[in-house]
Each structure stands twice: as structure tokens, then as C-alpha cells.
Symmetry: C2
Subunit: 154 residues, 2 copies
């Protein structure tokens, strides 16, 4: 396990908020030379702290106005239902996240679709079409109180 110091954390924190910041400005904000910052960042990437960079898109602008969470329960009769479900979920573009959870149900799915009509289609043609899906409970999001907050690195 490689440990990181306060400066590294600051770099990660700033980069999480603004992934496209210029190296020189990053260096200025931290109080180190651009060269050092560049070396540190390279190391942070090599050691797997930074997995990549991405643009944050506005889902509403893209016509994806409805966010839903779906609790999925599987039939545990066949041995490979979990595998098959996991694989199918990867290919569904509507599914943004899918987690296997401990508790009352098996999988929690987070998906984005245009509207309720689109959701009904997604539910019927994608989720319920999968073999082994016994039951689902849908929760439509009415208000996104906090959306994709940065990880606490400080």
C-alpha cells in the first residue's frame, strides 16, 4: 500500500473538481513548480489513484430527465443467474450503476431514461426479460438533492 501526503491529496481534490485545470495553475494554487506537480500527478496515475478523467454532462440537457432506482430480486434456483444478470446489465446503456447488496433484495440498479414511458419499456424489455428476475421494486427520483459529490480526500 502506497501512502500519499497532504500535497497529493490537494492535487486529487482540485483535479476532482476541475479535471482540465492547467498544470501551471494547479502548481500555482498548491505552491509548487509545475514540474513537481507533473511528477506527482504521473505517480498518482501510475499507482492507480487516478483512474481517468471525464466530462460531466447534464443528463436533462440530453433528454434523460428521469432517474430511477430499481431493487431486483432473483430466483436462486439456477446456479448462474447472478452471472447472467451481471453480464446483461453491463450492456444496457440505461443502467448507470448496478450493485449487489446484502439485505432484503439482491441487486440495486440505478438507471437514467427519458421519461416514464421509456422506463416502462426498459423495465419490460430489458430487466424483466432477463431470466431469473423474480421481482422488482421501482423508485422514481423526484428531486436530486445531492448529485455525484466528490470523494472526500482531505
Amino acid at each position: 500500500m502506497i501512502d500519499i501526503d497532504k500535497i497529493d491529496r490537494k492535487i486529487l481534490s482540485i483535479l476532482q473538481a476541475d479535471g482540465r485545470i492547467a498544470n501551471v495553475e494547479l502548481a500555482e494554487r498548491i505552491g509548487l513548480s509545475p514540474t513537481s506537480i507533473g511528477e506527482r500527478l504521473k505517480r498518482l496515475q501510475r499507482d492507480g489513484f487516478v483512474e481517468g478523467y471525464g466530462a460531466r454532462l447534464n443528463p436533462h440537457r440530453l433528454g434523460l430527465g428521469l432517474l430511477v432506482f430499481v431493487e431486483v430480486m432473483l430466483d436462486k434456483t439456477t446456479p448462474d443467474v447472478f452471472e447472467r444478470f451481471a453480464r446483461a446489465v453491463q450492456t444496457a446503456p440505461e443502467v448507470l450503476e448496478c450493485h449487489m447488496v446484502a439485505g432484503g433484495f439482491d441487486y440495486l440498479v440505478k438507471a437514467r431514461v427519458a421519461d416514464m414511458t421509456a422506463y416502462r419499456r426498459f423495465l419490460g424489455e430489458s430487466l424483466l426479460a432477463l431470466p431469473g428476475v423474480r421481482e422488482t421494486r421501482t423508485y422514481a427520483v423526484m428531486e436530486e438533492v445531492k448529485r455525484d459529490a466528490p470523494l472526500p480526500v482531505g
Copy 2:
């Protein structure tokens, strides 16, 4: 409503996967001059399709190995419980997402902590300490099947 064409979508798609790609390379991949791509990107940012850029960090590397979802039910006796809960959630660094949902409970909270010990502390000192919280149900994630997939822009 401003609509975007196929080239714009391609820009967004690439940028979602690699937010730090050089403009020249982006232009090459799409088959347009860097200048044009720059202009399009500027427009996409101005019109709110791109809200920003961020580094994708590895939560496990940062000691945040446990992902939990918490269903929260509130006491609807006081009129401002929702507001107060929403405000409190913003300041909690463990909370990555919080959504008000329609259905069996009021809020769905997604949080990242180090381990179960840290979660117990978070639950007791942050969530349950809030006035108006009547009941919570916790679901610990055992396996992250799909994590933060890009929005379907194609």
C-alpha cells in the same frame, strides 16, 4: 431547447470517456479541424451540455472500501424536516448522492466510508442525529457490478 447533431454527440461521448484528451487528437478521431472542434466544444459548454470535468479517483485506493445505500424515512410532523435534512446531507462528506424518491421511503442516500466501523459512526453521528429521521434501512454493497457508466449520448 437546443439540439445537437451527430458530431456533437461524438464529442460528448469521447469526452465522457477521456476528459483530458487533446483537442487535436479529438479532432483527428472525429475527422474535423481542431479549430472547429474547439468551437463546438465551447458551444456545448456554453449551452450547458458539459457542466465540467473531473478526475475519476479509485475509492478503494483512498481507503473508502465500503459503499452503502441507506433508505431514510422522515417524520412528517414538522414542515421543514425535508429542507433541514436536505441541507444537512450537503455538508456530509460521506454522502455522495442523495435523492428524494416516490415510494416506500423518503430519501435514498449513497455513501462511501472506510469500513463497517466507520459506517456505524456515520449512521449514529450524522444520519440519526438529524432531527426528523424516523427510520433507516441500510444496504451494504457486496460487489459493484457496474460503476458510474457514461450517459448514453449516442
